[in-house]
Amino acid sequence: MSDDRLDDDDPIRLPTPADSPWGGEDPPTEEELRQAEALGATMDRLLAGEPVAATDDAARAAQLIRSSFHEERLAEGRRDELIQQAMRQALARPVSLPRPRRVSVGSLIALAASLLLVLGAGLMVWQAGPARRHVAQEPPRQMLSRSSDGLMGRPFTDRAGASSRLDLVFADRMNGYRQVVLARGTP
């Protein structure tokens, strides 16, 4: 049986990437190390609240890195100052409300005419309704004043007597008038 295990003391053992602090990459150059140290120092100052130069590349990079870690909030005083400034600008601006238009006499007359037209149309509709009902509910012929030729039925001579003719007409019309009174409900 063969033994494939490598012995720790094996002189041919090569270093693995996990053993290198650079993860298998090339080690940083001197310049890179110097810039990293400057960035770290600037970050430390920034976290300590010390002022940093705005033009310094390391300082700007440190600020970006710090801002990316948490939500940046304005200081309470700065926030109030900005709000008050915005309100002052808004209130100082002249308000341009729409001016009321002048109503001319002609417009008023046109409006009045339009109203009259609408009222007239409404009146016509209102009148048409009762008129239709009036025709539909026309009273029976017997309740109407009319010629008594139909009652006579034929020509007559004076010998028949005006009294008897009027008796006949009166009796017929009294019957119709009674119906009118009953239909109306009042004497």
Binding site: A110, L123, H134, L144, R146, G150, T157, D158, S163
Partner: protein, 192 residues
């Protein structure tokens, strides 16, 4: 006057015309006769009473009082807005005409008939009867003139009488035809 004002005035005029036209249409849609009312019934009742009163006077031979009573009928408000009232006027006129003729008042009788005929707004059996009565008066006159030897005047009166009777016949024919036509569409009056 501005253009707008003119347009408004035209619109107002159109609205007025429309409304007046609508009102006129409403009147036209009303039934042919108005409802029987108390005023008409009072008129008919009064005329009927006067006629019976005249009958009684004539029965007792009191012709003058009968004439006066019939005149009271003609003094009533027999407005032509009621067909019945118009017919009462025509019938009373015919009766008065005959009463006057019976009294020998030929001219007055003719004038009474002529007045009654002149105001008649439409044809009716009552109008036909009045024409017939006028014909009777003229016939009476013709006979009188003829008996008096006034032949020419008698012929003239006879021609007038014939025309009056002819008019009466024509009216009767037209009315009978009309009643016949109406009877085919509705039951005759008085049968209800």
């Amino acid at each position: 006057m501005t253009r707008l004002t003119r347009q408004v005035l035209v619109l107002l005029a159109l609205v007025s015309l429309a409304l007046s036209g609508c009102a006129a249409e409403k009147e036209c849609s009303c039934p042919q006769g108005k409802l029987l009312d108390q005023q008409l019934m009072l008129l008919l009742s009064s005329a009927r009473a006067y006629h019976h009163q005249a009958d009684l006077y004539l029965q007792q031979g009191e012709v003058d009082r009968a004439v006066a009573t019939v005149r009271k009928i003609l003094a009533l408000d027999l407005s032509s807005r009621w067909p019945e009232a118009e017919e009462v006027r025509l019938d009373a006129t015919a009766r008065l005409t005959k009463l006057l003729l019976g009294q020998g008042k030929e001219d007055e009788a003719l004038k009474t008939a002529a007045d009654g005929l002149a105001g008649a707004p439409r044809e009716s059996f009552y109008l036909s009867n009045l024409y017939s009565v006028r014909g009777e008066v003229l016939e009476h006159r013709s006979k009188r003139l003829d008996s008096e030897g006034q032949k020419e005047q008698a012929r003239g009166a006879a021609r007038e009488a014939i025309a009056a009777f002819e008019k009466s016949i024509e009216i009767n024919k037209r009315l009978q035809r009309k009643l016949l036509d109406e009877g085919e569409q509705s039951p005759p009056e008085g049968s209800r």
